[in-house]
């Protein structure tokens, strides 16, 4: 009975709005000097300012302001010559101050855009995503909900608060309504978040780890019947913590809205939570009373008025656009589109680039990062960059393979040992006694022994039955405990039997 996506999209036109929150990679918080390190013991990174104690005076972090302007410039925004912070008043214990310092009608950056490209079955398609605003705010604390249905806020007996995260600088990037994407809406959203993440990473303003929450996406979705002008009622899905989830959540919401509309039901304007396991959303906090945040200008923080010189200085430090960089790399590496897409998807572009810089051949470098290493990363559900193997390690391994001191098979053992923390490349090769048996005389001796042990097989090979040589090669490989280079053994053996 569930509606298919194609059926939903045949009747309705989706409109999207994406809000991305980025935690900035400053070492101290937005308005105080508390540390921002992730994962510290509860409430070890707080002070009177971020706890909102009476009399505390916040002062804005210069670096956070610079980062926000850099983000705005990278997204082709105008930088406001004058903007203010505002108090967003609400009572929820994740903010100990009972308001969040944010920006309201005067964001630092406005009116930008980001161009993205998606791969479709009809070839690649370009979209321009318009940016409404880029504004500064602060992150909230973390709540643990105790008792009741495990971990959920509804019906919990009480909650426990850790304010280490409260006050970490947060930038919110809001798109204008994204229209005209039709059935590609979910992929467009994913491509936008992915491109944005690449830009933020290139800027060095955030570690952009979606799984740790330093990059979070809220997706607004609405549908209207095809041909209709009026936007439908939107839902806002939160808790979307991976690129894949962005795509899934939007797809799921399009289907859910279409089912409601098809049966003449109303879409309720509400916050919904995405569940990674089911790919579905459930209704979040009820918003029975309309939100009333009573924003007003923050009296404790003076306005921000970046000078032309300041903006030009930041503009001069902007790195190359990721899309331009990707094009250059692809040309330099002569990588096919598919492999380029695979590297972007697996998030190993930087690693491959670093490996190539250290002297590895581009094809070999990417085949390791996309092959064995990606496989292990997948198996352990972590990012390749989080494994204990560096670009330098891979470059060293590739060099050893080129020199003939490692076979691909032995190299895979080294890679696995590296990832398991058995030491550096040289140590592993030594401690595991890994070495390619390439000394021809010892190989020849082993070949002679194999032939002597199976003279009938050798005779077949001499007679032209090449596949029969497999048994002899196998015997030699077995004797060398797998350390001989099989291709070399084959060459020597066939030559020896007059078939080379």
């Amino acid at each position: 009975m569930a509606l298919r996506y194609e059926e939903a999209i045949a009747r309705y036109e989706p409109s999207l709005g994406l809000e991305v929150h980025v935690e900035l990679a400053t070492v101290s918080k937005m308005f105080c000097g508390c540390n921002t390190v992730f994962g510290a013991a509860a409430n070890t990174q707080t002070c009177p300012v971020c706890l909102g104690l009476p009399g505390a005076l916040p002062v804005a972090n210069a670096k956070a302001i610079e980062y926000t302007i850099a983000i705005g410039l990278a997204l082709n925004c105008s930088v406001a010559p004058f903007s203010r912070f505002a108090r967003k008043n609400y009572f929820y214990p994740d903010m100990p101050k009972n308001f969040q310092t944010s920006q309201y009608d005067e964001p630092i950056c406005t009116n930008g855009y980001l161009d993205i490209t998606i791969d479709t079955d009809e070839g690649s398609k370009d979209f321009r995503i318009e940016i409404e605003r880029v504004h500064m705010e602060e992150d909230t604390g973390k709540s643990l909900h105790m008792g009741g249905a495990t971990g959920r806020i509804h019906g919990a007996d009480y909650s426990l608060l850790d304010y280490n995260r409260a006050g970490i600088p947060l930038v919110e990037i809001v798109t204008k309504v994204i229209d005209g994407t039709g059935r590609h809406a979910p992929e467009v959203a994913r491509a936008y978040v992915s491109e944005l993440r690449d830009i933020l990473r290139a800027l060095g303003v955030s570690d952009v780890k979606m799984e740790q929450g330093s990059l979070r996406c809220d997706a607004n979705v609405s549908l209207r019947p095809i041909g209709s002008e009026k936007l439908g009622t939107r839902s806002e899905t939160k808790n979307v913590n991976s690129l894949k989830s962005v795509e899934r959540a939007i797809r799921g919401e399009i289907i859910r809205h279409a089912e409601l509309l098809n049966s003449n039901q109303r879409v309720i304007q509400e916050t919904r939570h995405f569940h990674e396991d089911t790919g579905l959303t459930t209704s979040g906090r009820s918003k029975e009373q309309a939100e009333d945040y009573r924003y007003f200008p923050e009296p404790d923080l003076v306005p921000i008025a970046p000078s032309k010189e300041m903006i030009e200085k930041i503009a001069a430090t902007l790195p190359e656009k990721p899309s331009v960089r990707r094009k250059k790399l692809q040309e330099a590496w002569q990588a096919p589109d598919k492999e380029m897409a695979a590297m972007i998807n697996a998030d190993v572009l930087d690693l491959v680039e670093a490996t190539v810089k250290l002297g590895a051949d581009p094809t070999r470098a990417r085949s390791w990062w996309l092959g064995e290493i990606a496989r292990i990363a997948n198996e352990r559900s972590v990012a390749a960059s989080d494994l204990a193997i560096s670009a330098a390690d891979v470059a060293e391994i590739v060099a050893l393979i080129v020199k003939g001191e490692l076979t691909d098979k032995l190299a895979r053992q080294v890679v696995e040992a590296l990832i398991n923390g058995e030491g550096r490349v040289g140590q592993i090769i030594q401690s595991r006694g890994i070495k390619v048996v390439s000394d021809d005389s010892s190989l020849m001796a082993a070949i002679e022994r194999a032939i002597a042990a199976a003279p009938d097989v050798a005779e077949k090979v001499r007679g032209g039955n090449i596949p029969a040589s497999g048994a002899l090669i196998g015997a030699v490989m077995k004797e060398s405990k797998g350390q001989a280079d099989a291709a070399k053994v084959r060459d020597l053996l066939l030559k020896h039997l007059g078939q080379g």
Binding site: A42, A60, R84, L160, I304
Partner: protein, 101 residues
């Protein structure tokens, strides 16, 4: 002097609800009077200010007061929690936020 209250009882009741302040009927009535006086005073100032005077949010003409991005010592968890009515496991303990759906 007679005046029309520039803020209604319902306005004040709504604000009190948003601010999580429990007010009795008497307190509400008193605040309607007091807040109205304040609002009237502000309204008179607004009449005087011409369109060439921008709304003031800050009394001093200062902009761009920043601090460098440097870590300074934080409070210990014990200090941070010293004023908390309730705590558990070095965390602030707060009553139920939302009931069952």
């Amino acid at each position: 002097m007679t005046y029309m209250s520039s803020i209604s009882r319902d306005d004040v009741a709504n604000l009190a609800k948003l601010a999580r302040i429990d007010l009795s009927e008497d307190e509400l009535a008193g605040l309607v009077k007091e807040l109205s006086v304040i609002l009237d005073a502000v309204a008179r100032v607004q009449e005087v200010a011409g369109s060439d005077v921008p709304p003031t949010s800050h009394p001093l003409p200062l902009v761009n007061v920043f601090r460098q991005d440097q870590v300074r010592p934080s409070l210990t968890p014990e200090e941070a929690l010293s004023g908390a009515p309730a705590q558990e496991g070095k965390r602030f303990k707060v009553p139920q936020i939302l009931g069952e759906e």
